[in-house]
């Protein structure tokens, strides 16, 4: 049955700057916010936006991600018509192919898209923490009569040279695209969220993939090609919280943002909003237990935790235990970590299942850029 729109979610990111956290899993599977994985955000956005068909393109270390997504039921994406499908690189008669770039990943799966015959394809990445109603962006796309819409967000001018920058006219038409410009002419950064008319997508992916010189990347190759060919590209302005969590520092910051008192829509993500739930797999843990000697303040704590120590300005994922006399400040403790007695942890991310022995002190050293990742002895 034909669908108005389907989503293709690029979840192949290696996330090598997340060090040991991505040793065995892809970046979109990295844990966030006391309960979630990064990919929960775009998947929940799809469900909440009424998109019920999502192809998830995996590449590096797909095992954890495949098992996590399963049949899609946590996001209500276990559908007979549509639902979620994991699309790994596959071998064909001519040999096994890795996806060369983001564009070729989509191109290799055109038959998946064709099966649903959508009018529009929404292309997403699995690298960011944000809430966004893709249905509103689609309305904008249709109203503007665009071939392609690209979601953009205003970034601070002094950071603009780290992003793909869109230069637009007064009517949101994109006139120029600068990938990481040294001297940015605008501060509208691409969020890596695209809506294509399906026929335009098919045409340009074919064109791009015929070009052996191309790196087959949406930002570097396909968008410039569309501009060269005078297609109508519009920028969809987004305001709200949006954060790349590609480094230990930024992952820590995004977690800490959750504890900040809300000043405006860009302070942090509201996880408690009832009509825009972020869905996630729910493991079976009992309620958390805060012991008589514990002290917990300005913290997020998930189910199955047993806390005897002091927790301040920190986030505990499911199943964490914290022994008596321990003090955890400004830190992120991932699922099932066992923190012994009289431990001190400050400005750290402690990886999943890590044991921290009694009396240990974990804090950033000179070379740690203000935050330290600890995944065991």
């Amino acid at each position: 049955m034909a669908k108005k729109s389907i989503a293709m979610l690029l979840a192949g990111g290696q996330g090598s700057r997340l060090k040991d956290l991505t040793r065995n899993l892809a970046k979109p599977a990295v844990a966030f916010g006391g309960k979630y994985r990064i990919i929960d955000f775009p998947l929940s956005n799809c469900t909440n936006s009424g998109i019920d068909t999502v192809g998830v393109l995996t590449q590096y270390q797909p095992l954890v991600l495949n098992a996590y997504i399963g049949n899609g039921s946590p996001w209500d994406l276990d559908r007979t018509n549509g639902g979620v499908a994991v699309l790994p690189p596959y071998s064909e008669a001519s040999g096994f192919k890795w996806y060369k770039g983001t564009a070729s990943a989509i191109y290799e799966n055109m038959n998946y898209i064709e099966r649903y015959d959508p009018e529009y394809v929404v292309i997403l990445s699995g690298d960011h923490i944000y809430k966004m109603n893709y249905a509103k962006m689609l309305d904008f796309h249709v109203k503007k009569g665009a071939d392609v819409s690209i979601a953009v967000i205003e970034v601070p001018w002094d950071e603009a040279s780290r992003f793909g920058i869109m230069n637009t006219d007064d009517d949101f038409n994109i006139v120029e695209f600068d990938e990481k410009p040294e001297e940015p002419k605008s501060n509208l950064a691409s969020m890596g969220i695209y809506i294509f008319k399906t026929d335009v997508l098919t045409e340009f992916l074919e064109m791009d993939c015929r070009n052996a010189e191309s790196s087959n990347d949406f930002g570097k190759d396909v968008i410039p090609l569309l501009l060269d060919e005078k297609k109508k590209l519009v920028a969809y302005p987004f305001s709200g919280y949006w954060k790349d969590v590609g480094t230990i520092q930024s992952l820590w910051e995004a977690n800490m943002d959750l504890l900040k008192p809300k000043e405006d829509a860009t302070t942090n993500i509201d996880l408690y909003e009832e009509n825009w739930r972020i869905y996630s797999k729910n493991p079976s843990y009992p309620a958390q237990y805060i012991d008589a000697e514990a002290k917990v303040e300005n913290a997020l704590v998930n189910e199955g935790c047993v806390v005897k120590g002091t927790i301040k300005g920190s986030i505990l994922f499911q199943g964490v235990s914290v022994g008596s006399g321990s003090v955890i400040t400004d830190s992120v403790i991932m699922n099932n970590a066992v923190i012994g007695k009289n431990v001190k942890i400050n400005r750290a991310i402690v990886g999943p299942g890590t044991s921290v022995l009694d009396g240990r002190v974990i804090q950033p050293g000179e070379h740690d850029d203000g935050v330290v990742l600890y995944t065991g002895e």
Binding site: S284, A287, Q288, Y289, I290, E293, V296, L300
Partner: protein, 341 residues
């Protein structure tokens, strides 16, 4: 133990048992769906026991007010009971007469007659704790008596294991003119038979009165008891609710308390159980309380020895105090105004 062996038991939960002494908590819900320990409903414990014993077919007998139970259990997916063969069966009586189970028994004898299982275990929904059913089966096979009953702390509990054929025989002799519950029927049918007594030594709670409900909830606030009921090996399975982690705001002070997900806590909470999605305001003091899901407690309140049922709103400045033996109960959906106190 191999899988075929496991497959030999049919599970039956009698959720028709009404316990008047649990009112007002059971006014609009069966005992089976009474919230417990922050994130569970009572039936989760017995259902999880059955599933952990490899039981893949469970019949739940319920009275007609079973919306909360059906909504909670759904297709049985959480317990892996959404099966093509076996799975979950609901038998609901259509009458208001709560003692009138014999009619559903009479009309649904097929459930027992057709089931391809050698044994049947019949249990109520209000016993909390781990019952190793496979171990009980082992004893049943080694001993002579036709019925095996669970014994805890020197007292027989209404949990029976017997051959399915024996249950079918009992049903052949069912007298529809005697009003009784499913459990009453089983007890009457087995009262003259020899019984093996299967001793459970691990912690069990029977939730059969308001005092017991309150006391067993509070008893779970010690680490030893908590570990006794919530083992990692045999998790208690329940329907997830997609709540975010609980947020402890600056100024909150929580001790000796179990807290489920999705709460926002600013006040002081001591020796209590706080269920999913509860809000506790600034300068509010909650002590020895059971707060059920989606309750909102405003700023500057004082609550001591109180059970607050689901979706209650307590306005700022209210003070409620119960007795530590007989807690005060605020019924579901109520609003408590400061002026009332």
């Amino acid at each position: 133990m191999d899988r075929l062996e496991n497959k030999q038991i049919l599970g039956v939960i009698d959720a028709t048992v009404d316990i008047d002494t649990l009112a007002p908590l059971t006014l609009n819900r069966p005992v089976a769906s009474l919230p417990f320990s922050g994130r569970y409903r009572l039936i989760d414990f017995m259902l999880s026991n059955m599933v952990h014993a490899g039981i893949d077919s469970v019949g739940i007998f319920s009275h007609h007010l079973y919306n909360s139970l059906k909504g909670h259990i759904g297709s049985g997916k959480v317990w892996d009971l959404d099966r093509k063969n076996g799975g979950l069966f609901f038998y609901v009586q259509d009458k208001h007469d709560k003692e009138n189970t014999q009619l559903i028994l009479q009309h649904n004898q097929e459930f027992f007659i057709r089931a391809p299982y050698q044994y049947v275990i019949i249990a109520p929904s209000h016993i909390i704790g781990r019952i190793p059913i496979l171990d009980m089966l082992k004893m049943h096979r080694e001993k002579e008596a036709p019925v095996t009953q669970v014994v805890y702390a020197g007292k027989g509990l209404p949990i029976y294991l017997l051959k399915r054929q024996l249950m079918v025989q009992f049903l052949d002799n069912l007298d529809p003119s005697i009003p009784q519950t499913l459990m009453g029927f089983v007890e009457a049918s087995t009262q003259h038979l020899d019984k093996n007594l299967y001793q459970v030594n691990e912690l069990l709670f029977t939730v059969d009165s308001l005092t017991n409900y309150y006391k067993s909830t509070m008893d779970l606030l010690t680490m030893d008891n908590w570990n006794g009921i919530f083992s990692k090996k045999y998790p208690v399975l329940t329907t997830p609710k997609d709540e975010p982690p609980t947020k402890y705001l600056s100024g909150s002070h929580v001790t000796g308390t179990m807290v489920a997900n999705g709460c926002l806590i600013e006040g002081e909470v001591t020796d209590s159980v706080i269920s999913r999605g509860v809000r506790i305001g600034k300068n509010t003091v909650v002590k020895n309380c059971i707060i059920m899901p989606k309750v909102e407690i405003g700023d500057d309140c004082v609550l001591e020895n109180v059970i607050v049922d689901k979706e209650v709103t307590i306005e700022a400045g209210a003070a409620l105090k119960g007795n530590d033996q007989v807690p005060l109960v605020v019924p579901k959906n109520a609003t408590v105004y400061k002026e009332w106190i």
